[in-house]
Symmetry: C2
Subunit: 213 residues, 2 copies
DNA sequence: ACGGTCATACCGACCAGACGGTATGCACCG
DNA sequence: CGGTGCATACCGTCTGGTCGGTATGACCGT
């Protein structure tokens, strides 16, 4: 099965190098050397350097979308489903930390049509996530005084940022961090007894205390 | 004052192009054309393309650090100070949205020493921010069941992510979004009434999984 | 069994061109 | 006259991609 091995080895090396040095700073020569193959072999399996990059995106997107669908299909109370979705995407992102680095850093290096494709598939994920939040809002669980798009951005930002600070060698296990970030997010969007006062007086908001149940 | 004008115009064009196409995909030729100057003029003011990129970082870092110091120097209750700091960094990031795009996307394109310099100055900001959180924790205001580094990452992620979703043309004013994100963050880190507090003796947060009750 | 044919997998020298950077020169100013 | 501010032509390097060629092996008619 040399077929699989070459393509896989190239992909592996590419992710590693792209994450470490960036897409533009990594030459095809470097990749094939790191993968232990030749340029000819690589161009036999990939149309272009861009194609190689897209393969990384494709794998990530497919994986996370599959997870999302599976969790939603499982059903259950909104809070539970949302919790599971959040934890999963964080854990998955930790499992694929180098891919994540490349993902957010090099998206603009893709050719226009592929960039659109990535955007489209990310929006699919986004929309399903948004539907979950909306469901929770209709159930009175989550606050409605802040636009839904802001609530969602607030969560995805955490996923996005992971590759900038999380280290697998650090003290925190991936499962723990996932629970913690999810908890922070859910605590933030939970509907509270009182409203939110915008401009002045940030201090008095503390008096409201938690709507923790 | 042609001196200032040329350098400024080049910087302006560079930010715009870097944000739109990425650093690596933007040639020096493109920059000088967009700025309405010649390559000779540009290389008279900047040592290299890298130098140009660093100038962008330098400006952002100086600005935000100055703001931070000013707000902290103003004093006041912890909650108020932290609130103001959060709002400010978000508003500033919105004012310099293209710079922000470049900032996070192209850091790895800087030469090693400059990358270190940027990291060093970011850490300065980070540490002052961490000190604020710690103060709030000692006052019993903020939860201690989650590592401080996670709390902080949770906030900076929002700042980081802004350039990926916020649009000045959108319905949300920059001040409003800043308040909303700040509120979400503060709601998340607030110590809950009956919840875990006191000394952090390790992983006491495991209870999160079941989702309330 | 066997020569021949064809497709697939792979090799690696080579190329066109783009890019960052420089060298040289000139105009203007104090 | 010297120095600053800039213009322009030019260069060496490096890169993505190509292309002619070879090795391997399955299949086939005889």
């Amino acid at each position: 099965m040399k077929d699989v091995n070459v393509a896989d080895e190239v992909t592996r090396a590419a992710v590693e190098l792209f994450a470490a040095q960036g897409y533009a700073n990594t030459s095809v020569q470097q990749i094939v050397e790191a993968a232990g193959v030749t340029k000819g072999a690589m161009y036999h399996y990939f149309e272009s350097k861009d194609d190689l990059l897209f393969a990384i995106y494709d794998r990530m997107l497919s994986l996370q979308k599959a997870h999302l669908d599976e969790i939603i299909a499982r059903g259950g109370p909104t809070e539970q489903v949302l919790h599971d979705v959040c934890v999963d995407v964080i854990e998955t992102s930790i499992d694929f930390l180098p891919e994540g680095t490349v993902f957010f850093r090099s998206m603009h290096m893709l050719t226009a049509p592929r960039q659109q494709e990535v955007t489209r598939r990310r929006r699919e994920y986004h929309d399903e996530f948004a539907a979950l939040i909306e469901r929770g809002q209709q159930e009175g669980r989550y606050r409605t005084d802040i636009p839904r798009s802001v609530l969602i951005a607030n969560f995805f930002s955490d996923v996005h940022y992971l590759s900038h600070w999380y280290s697998p060698e650090g003290p925190e296990g991936r499962g723990l961090v996932a629970e913690q970030l999810t908890d922070l997010f859910l605590s933030g969007i939970r509907a509270t007894a009182g409203g939110v006062s915008a401009s002045d007086d940030g201090a008095s908001a503390a008096a409201v205390g938690g709507g923790a149940r």
